[in-house]
């Protein structure tokens, strides 16, 4: 059982090289300090997403969208931390 000590939140915005938001990009954890639910978030019309980091630690998030090159981002989260990242996807 995962005991939720200090759940963190990772928010982000996904854009292209021209600064245009990318909607419906898939955002998934590919690794983390604990086993993670195999569910993927979709970015909204403004390219935004918010995912939960259940425990403090280092997470790798992958962002995938058709016509763009997928990207992985490493994010370190501390207890109860909210971190925002910006991802630029290239074609």
């Amino acid at each position: 059982m995962i005991t939720m000590h200090g759940t963190g939140v990772i928010s982000g915005v996904v854009k292209d090289n021209n600064g245009n938001p990318i909607s419906a990009a898939r955002v998934s954890y590919v690794s983390g300090p604990v086993p993670l639910p195999d569910i993927a978030a979709l970015t909204d019309n403004n390219g935004n997403f918010v995912v939960t980091a259940p425990v403090p630690g280092e997470y790798i998030i992958e962002i995938i969208s058709e016509r763009f090159i997928a990207q992985k981002v490493k994010v370190a989260i501390e207890s109860n931390q909210k971190k925002h990242i910006e991802i630029i996807l290239s074609r």
Partner: protein, 316 residues
């Protein structure tokens, strides 16, 4: 294993619905199980069923498994590290290289049409993707965290999801059985109230009997030794592949405990809720509901007696 006795759902397996009147009916139904340990599948209408191979795997042309060595070391089942510990090594992904997944393109036939791509709208209107699978005319199994979100840390997100768009047998932009929206869900107290991943399972109830067309998988309870000698099969909708495409992989079951099944079957975000199934005499039976990706093994909620009982009630 006989089930001809009354059994009361205990603790975490008490069923809960987002439709309160349904919770009561399910709880009452669980008090008595008259069926055997396994529930049979159905191939639906005009199934054109694809064959299976002798070893309990699907016969998918072109699928080459690079390694089927049984695991010789204990899988990483550590569930919680000390809060301050932050380093768990390099990339440890749910797709355990090499990637043995193969795309299924004949998704309009059985068994592939049993699996549904899910588009989930949470209470805060955020959207997610997952997978479900038919167990009856109007019931799909999925992960508990697909239908109910806990401890997200995001205002307005926790609780039952708002709706799920179910797309059986989806193949990219093709929806051979259309799509149908549900806002009628089931899970159990162990997930809803405790957030215990040992109880991470749930169901989607459809407003129509689409499962009579697609068919459904059987499901059952088996011993540890039975499961450990089995090959697990998973087909679902991973988010790292072209949108809405179905992908399949298999591997021998790595380990089990009283509530979970562990396996080195490649999965990715979007496959939460997939059936982990075995093939017996050409028939498909769910043994677990895929839920988590881990460092060396992935895992699902094992179908044990109380899970089986809830599935029977939800299927009715």
């Amino acid at each position: 294993m006989s089930q001809n006795k009354k059994s009361k759902p205990a603790g975490g397996h008490t069923p809960i619905s987002n439709k309160p009147e349904e919770s009561l009916r399910a709880a009452e139904a669980d008090f008595f199980v008259s069926k055997s340990v396994s529930e049979e599948p159905s191939e639906g209408k005009d199934p054109k069923t694809t064959p299976v191979k002798d070893k309990g795997i699907e016969d998918v042309p072109g699928h080459v498994k690079t390694s089927m060595k049984p695991m010789t070391t204990a899988p990483d089942t550590s569930k919680l590290r000390d809060i301050g510990e932050a380093s768990f090594g390099p990339f440890q992904e749910t797709v355990h290289l090499p990637d043995d997944r193969i795309q299924i393109t004949s998704t309009e036939v059985y068994p592939w049409r049993v699996h549904a791509s899910l588009l989930i709208t949470a209470a805060d209107n955020s959207q997610w993707i997952g997978t479900g699978w038919f167990i009856g005319p109007h019931t799909l199994m999925t992960a508990g965290h697909v239908v109910y979100i806990r401890n997200s840390g995001v205002p307005g997100r926790d609780g039952w999801v708002r709706s799920i768009l179910v797309m059986p047998g989806r193949n990219g932009n093709s929806l051979p059985y259309g799509s149908i929206t549900s806002n009628n869900f089931r899970s159990v107290t162990g997930w809803i109230d405790w957030g215990d991943w040992n109880y991470d399972y749930g169901a989607i109830i459809l407003p129509s009997d689409l499962g009579n067309t697609t068919g459904w998988f059987g499901f059952g309870v088996w011993s540890d030794s039975d499961l450990l000698s089995s090959i697990g099969n998973i087909s679902g909708y991973p988010g790292d592949k072209p949108s809405g495409t179905q992908w399949y992989d298999y591997h021998q079951i790595a380990s089990v405990d009283s509530r979970k099944v562990y396996y080195d079957i490649d999965t990715y975000g979007g496959q939460s809720g997939s059936a982990v199934y075995r093939i017996i005499n050409g028939n498909r039976y769910g043994i677990a509901i895929h839920a988590y990706g881990g460092a060396t093994t992935n895992s699902g909620t094992r179908i044990v007696t109380p899970v089986f009982n809830n599935m029977l009630a939800w299927k009715a």
